[in-house]
């Protein structure tokens, strides 16, 4: 990381700090800053919890932690997909993770499984969908990018149609499914955070380790091969790692749109396209962005974080693109 980027790096650090402070301090219930600090202190020093301590410790902090994790997972996966497919429009849901997990969740809801099993069903179905896409796209030992994307689109559409058919049959429970497919951090507790953590850590960690190889891949498959990069294996590994991180996130908070598509572009504009910096900065910016989006969702009538990311993300991104061209 060069000295020229120092102010931007500091900017990222400040942004995360601001997101965590605001996300912990603000909400639909007003708690004065002194009380929030008191709650943090009482929790850390093991004292008896008072009035609002439960809100700070059991609701806001895990929600902020979940936002950081999920935002990082989606942004890093999006950047990795864009890199491995050399396609600026790729996003973490490219290979059917979202429609797979939505179908799993819908099934669990329609069959009236206990609520705790919904994320489990979503996770299994998401990974199943990716496995199906990989199987369909395979040609011998190769996974050609075009075939992967086409298989992802087709499997995604078929699974979405299946979910819709199920929702229409079990209409009185449709809102639960709808809320899930819009993405919501509503009931994230520490246990959920700890459940998602290994998927995100494993997936995003693997992607960060592959950053160098992803850089080489930008020169084209042939050049990368001649430089000793096992292109096919790399592609498969990136797809699996990104899908594991995304599936873990999606299973617990639903489908949060747009973030994984635009955060990598914003980071490229600010830090350049080297994958080591790109993936690291994506994790930070994506996490902070989702925490702030969730804060808006909780304190305004927009109500769900998936709505916020899409409504605000789109125009912001277009503005950024225009500025680039001026």
């Amino acid at each position: 990381m060069g000295w020229a980027r120092l102010p931007r790096t500091l900017g990222l650090i400040v942004l995360v700090a601001v997101a965590v402070v605001l996300g912990t301090g603000l909400g639909s219930v007003t708690i004065p800053p002194a009380e929030v600090l008191g709650a943090l202190w009482r929790g850390l020093s093991g004292q008896e919890a008072l009035g609002s301590d439960v809100i700070v410790w059991q609701i806001r902090l895990p929600r902020v932690a979940m936002g950081l994790l999920v935002g990082a997972a989606l942004s890093v996966s999006g950047a990795a997909f864009q890199g491995v497919f050399r396609n600026p429009l790729a996003d973490p849901y490219l290979l059917g993770v979202a429609s797979g997990s939505a179908l799993g969740a819908t099934l669990a809801v329609v069959l009236e499984w206990p609520r705790a099993l919904i994320p489990v069903a979503a996770l299994v179905a998401a990974l199943g969908a990716v496995a199906l896409v990989l199987a369909l796209a395979r040609r011998g030992r190769q996974f050609p990018p075009t075939r992967l994307i086409l298989a992802g689109v087709v499997v995604g559409s078929v699974l979405s149609a299946a979910s819709t058919a199920l929702i229409l049959r079990g209409q009185d429970r449709a809102r639960l499914v709808l809320s899930y497919t819009l993405g919501d951090l509503g009931f994230s507790g520490w246990r959920d955070v700890l459940t998602v953590l290994p998927y995100v850590a494993l997936g995003a960690g693997t992607l960060l380790a592959l950053a160098r190889a992803l850089d080489t891949l930008q020169l084209g498959d042939l050049t990368a091969r001649s430089l000793g990069v096992p292109v096919e294996r790399l592609r498969l590994l990136v797809v699996i790692a990104a899908s594991v991180a995304t599936a873990g996130a999606v299973a617990y908070v639903g489908i949060i749109g747009f973030l994984g598509l635009i955060v990598p572009h914003i980071v490229r504009l600010a830090f350049g396209a080297g994958h080591r910096t790109l993936l690291g900065a994506c994790a930070v910016l994506g996490g902070a962005g989702l925490v702030l989006a969730d804060l808006l969702a909780r304190t305004t009538p927009l109500s769900q974080v998936g709505i916020v990311t899409t409504l605000l993300g789109g125009p912001f991104f277009l503005w950024l693109l225009r500025r680039q061209h001026d």
């Binding site: 909400g27 639909s28 219930v29 609002s52 439960v54 809100i55 410790w57 059991q58 609701i59 806001r60 895990p62 609520r115 705790a116 229409l168 209409q171 809102r175 639960l176 809320s179 919501d184 509503g186 009931f187 994230s188 507790g189 520490w190 909780r298 109500s303 769900q304």
Partner: protein, 288 residues
């Protein structure tokens, strides 16, 4: 007490509850002026509460089709099902040759049916008062005005009976009523919110939040209600930060039984029974 009810009842019955004259022009809930040419004899109802009201007005046998969710009263089991508001079986509806199809505000039935030359009327109660006014409208539509007035008077009387009972309750617990686990709840203006108040509870949701708002879980933690309805204790205790709430600790988290839930979700003639069931859950001590 009894005498006033009797007086109001006879008054209601004698108050110009004559026969409806056709053709009749009425405004429906979509704001359309609808002309009913003659007394409807072949009716299709696409809303469970409407089907239920028609049967309570003793015109059940005129129903030649109902939506998939119309399952009460039991005699509707014999009536052909013609899909629901969102996935209607238009062919079956047209084939049944109805002279009136009753729909709600939702769905897209109005266009195709009107084009097929079928009379369509939208009727959809949302607030507590509308449950009564829409019943009267329905009575007028099917030439059962007197029966509708009797029905409404009876409902009001039964509701008053429960209210008198709950008014004598020593305490009115603060309550949170969940209609959906994401979580959605009921505001005081909605018909469920009104019932909650009449059943002897104080809703923690202010009017400013709307009729069926989605709430931030931390708001419920802050309000710390004495009673929770519409979910089970296990589910409530599993939510982050909810295990310490007084309703969870004292075991006052009550899931609504299926049958009561069905009458509570339908703004129709079973409103008094729904209220009574709700009051019994909130104040079991008054029903011993």
């Amino acid at each position: 007490m009894k005498s006033t009810i009797l007086i109001s009842l006879t008054f209601a019955l004698s108050a110009n509850a004559g026969a409806t004259t056709y053709p009749l022009t009425l405004q429906d809930d979509l704001g359309r002026k609808v002309i009913i040419k003659s007394e409807p004899k072949r009716i299709i109802s696409m809303l469970p509460s409407t089907s239920e009201t028609l049967c309570a007005l003793k015109v059940c046998e005129r129903l030649v089709g109902v939506d998939a969710y119309s399952d009460y009263p039991a005699q509707l089991g014999k009536v052909p099902k013609v899909g629901d508001l969102f996935t209607p079986n238009i062919e079956a509806i047209v084939a049944a040759k109805p002279d009136l199809v009753l729909i709600s505000k939702d769905g897209k039935l109005e266009g195709p049916l009107t084009q097929a030359g079928i009379t369509v009327f939208a009727l959809y109660p949302v607030t507590y008062d509308e449950v009564f006014s829409k019943t009267l409208t329905l009575g007028k539509l099917v030439n059962r005005e007197a029966a509708a007035k009797t029905l409404v008077t009876g409902m009001a009387r039964d509701i008053a009976k429960t209210e008198i009972l709950t008014r004598s309750a020593v305490n009115r617990p603060t309550a949170y009523y969940e209609i959906d686990p994401t979580p959605y709840t009921v505001g005081p203006k909605s018909f469920l919110g009104v019932l909650l108040g009449k059943a002897g509870a104080r809703n923690i949701i202010p009017e400013s939040m709307g009729e069926f708002p989605k709430v931030d879980p931390e708001f419920i933690v802050k309000a710390n209600p004495q009673l929770m309805l519409g979910l089970d204790r296990q589910a409530a205790a599993a939510r982050p930060g909810w295990a310490g709430l007084q309703a969870v600790k004292s075991g006052r988290v009550i899931d609504i039984p299926a049958e009561l839930g069905s009458s509570l979700s339908r703004p129709g003639p079973r409103l008094p029974q729904a209220l009574r069931g709700l009051a019994r859950l909130i104040h079991p001590e008054l029903f011993r």
